[in-house]
């Protein structure tokens, strides 16, 4: 079917297509793609994801298959992967990734008896360096975002795949003990989770909606419990008590979540006078990502308070039950991540 036998590399060419090829390259390669972005790290002190804007999911995921087809000498490889070939001219990061995969796969195929080294090291997530857990979380969240955006573009449905990646990111992040690192690991989670309904404009805080987020308990807060000659036991007890609470903050308002047996209880204080003696609706934005919480009313987006806010602006309301325990550090981290955004508004 071909008018020549080229399969790439050093095969001979027939006919003079050089000028057409040069023209095609000028058409395909946008002028702003001078340097291969994939090989450059923006920041040389903090580990960052390499493929973000340059990640083209449908093409990238074909690269190893294409490389393997070429390595297997499949004569129809280039015909089956025609759009990918054109894309490789237009996208330097994908082309660099192709070269990388081709080389690694070629090495793998020529090393069928590769001697597997004994793997030393930890077997647990908690024992793995937490900065690398954070990097894994960021990779998973970024991948979920790419899947959702691609699905939106293709009018297809990748929700389940994206949800699975976000759930994994949440689970992995729960093993990160350092609050700031955990926060960094999940920094894009809320934004990506809101893409399930399609891309939206950036969230803006409505004046009649109170948007709470967890407050990271700093070491200083915990140490304060030790002042005044208290014993170490008292300090530890104070730390345990602190860790069994999720502190929340919205603008100048504070609240917290505690656990009574299986029940999670939301405490809000100093709510605006406009809310006094009214019932409110709570929305836990990430509430549907994980199943371990059985939300009252069944919908984490609309948990209606059974009581009204009192005259002091205080509200105590149960929001759901769970087998997770706030007293368990990893389970607490998981719950805290679920409450990254908790919104309170007046019930209609």
């Amino acid at each position: 079917m071909s008018d020549d036998t080229v399969t790439g590399g050093d095969a001979p060419m027939h006919g003079d297509y050089t000028k057409l090829a040069q023209w095609l390259q000028s058409v395909l390669l946008p002028s702003d793609q001078d340097e291969p972005a994939i090989l450059t790290q923006k920041n040389d002190t903090q580990l960052e994801l390499v493929l973000t804007d340059d990640y083209h999911q449908p093409f990238y995921q074909q690269l190893p298959d294409f490389a393997l087809a070429m390595l297997s000498g499949d004569p129809l490889a280039t015909i089956h992967y025609t759009p990918l070939l054109y894309h490789l001219v237009a996208c330097r990061p994908c082309h660099a990734a192709y070269l990388d995969f081709y080389d690694s796969l070629r090495y793998a195929l020529h090393n069928q008896d590769y001697r597997q080294q004994f793997i030393q090291g930890t077997r647990t997530l908690s024992g793995t360096p937490h900065r690398m857990l954070a990097h894994l979380c960021q990779s998973l969240i970024s991948q979920a975002e790419a899947l959702l955006r691609q699905a939106h573009h293709d009018h297809s449905d990748n929700d389940e795949a994206a949800r699975s990646l976000l759930q994994m990111a949440l689970q992995v992040s729960s093993h990160i003990t350092q609050n700031s690192l955990r926060r960094q690991a999940l920094q894009d989670l809320v934004r990506v989770a809101t893409l399930f309904d399609g891309p939206t404009s950036p969230r803006t805080e409505e004046s009649n909606v109170y948007s709470y987020s967890p407050v990271m308990a700093s070491a200083g807060v915990l140490r304060r419990g030790g002042r005044g000659g208290q014993h170490a036991d008292d300090v530890l007890r104070a730390q345990r008590m602190q860790s069994a609470i999720i502190h929340l903050q919205a603008r100048n308002l504070e609240g917290f979540i505690v656990q009574q047996d299986d029940m999670l209880e939301l405490h809000l204080q100093h709510l605006d006078a406009a809310l006094h003696e009214k019932q409110v609706v709570i929305s836990v934005l990430l509430g549907s990502l994980l199943e371990p919480i059985r939300w009252f009313g069944g919908n984490p987006d609309a948990i209606r308070s059974t009581q009204a806010v009192d005259e002091q602006g205080t509200l105590v309301m149960p929001i759901g039950t769970t087998d997770l325990r706030l007293s368990n550090p990893e389970e607490r981290n998981l719950l805290e991540a679920l409450f990254l955004i908790l919104e309170v508004r007046t019930a209609n």
Partner: protein, 299 residues
Amino acid sequence: MPFSAHDLRYHAEQSYPLLYAYLHRNAQRFLGSLKYDAFEVDTVIGHVVEQLVRLGLLGGGDHTPHAALDQLSDAQFYAFLNRSVRNKAIDRLRKRRLQVNTAAELEMADDDDSDNSPLNDAVESLWGATPFSTPEEITLHVTSQNELRSVLKHCIMVLSAAPNQLQAVMKELHEIGADELFEDIADELQLSLAGDPNPHISQHKDHAHKKLRHCLQQQSSHLTVMVALRITLYTKHSADKKDYSVEMSSLTQTDLSISDVEQGLHGLVTEGLLSWDGEEIVHLTAAQMKRLARFYKED
């Protein structure tokens, strides 16, 4: 306890610590003088981890189709990871502007595994060059292969909906001396470059290039051309000899699905090259057949 590609796909949380340990060991090995630089080690590990996530393998479960890496044996998969680490480590060493001879660097590493030997590089040269190692090589290939060039032809034809843009591209083809392609399209569309030059030709050219970039990378363009080529190859005279027909199964062959063929047929209908409304047997008039054959048939 080793891990496999299957473990990374279906048991990512349990396998990640082992993956990390494996990558860490190899990153230190290949980073040579940078082996104690935690940032560099993390960068190499992070690169491979990100690759595996982006490929849909790490944590992909059944949400992404099984692909090349799933077909590797465990030994091959470890070799693949090892090589990926090595390649990234060399990138980092180069980036740090160390005057490093890769082979010497590997020789200095504190592991005596055979894959760490500089002899590997000598063996590697026997494997031959990497195909499509430059964009130039790819464009030369796609323009010199009839099937692949047909996609380019198809995408230029699609520009006929915007005559000024088509004219701008045809003018370029004429100027670079791509006579065969130029004449094919000019004949099909009965075009002529005669007339006053368009004062906005540069703008039209930019728009046309943008559309071409998009069209050439579309699977739908590829399918339209594939199906057109197959129609020209497998279509037969119908029983009454008045027109031509081809069964869907002849168009799928072994590598296209029914939905792929349907997508291709819809593309040809949109271009006005075919009348088809979902029938199992595709019928063409003599005029349609002649037009398809003239434009898409193998040279």
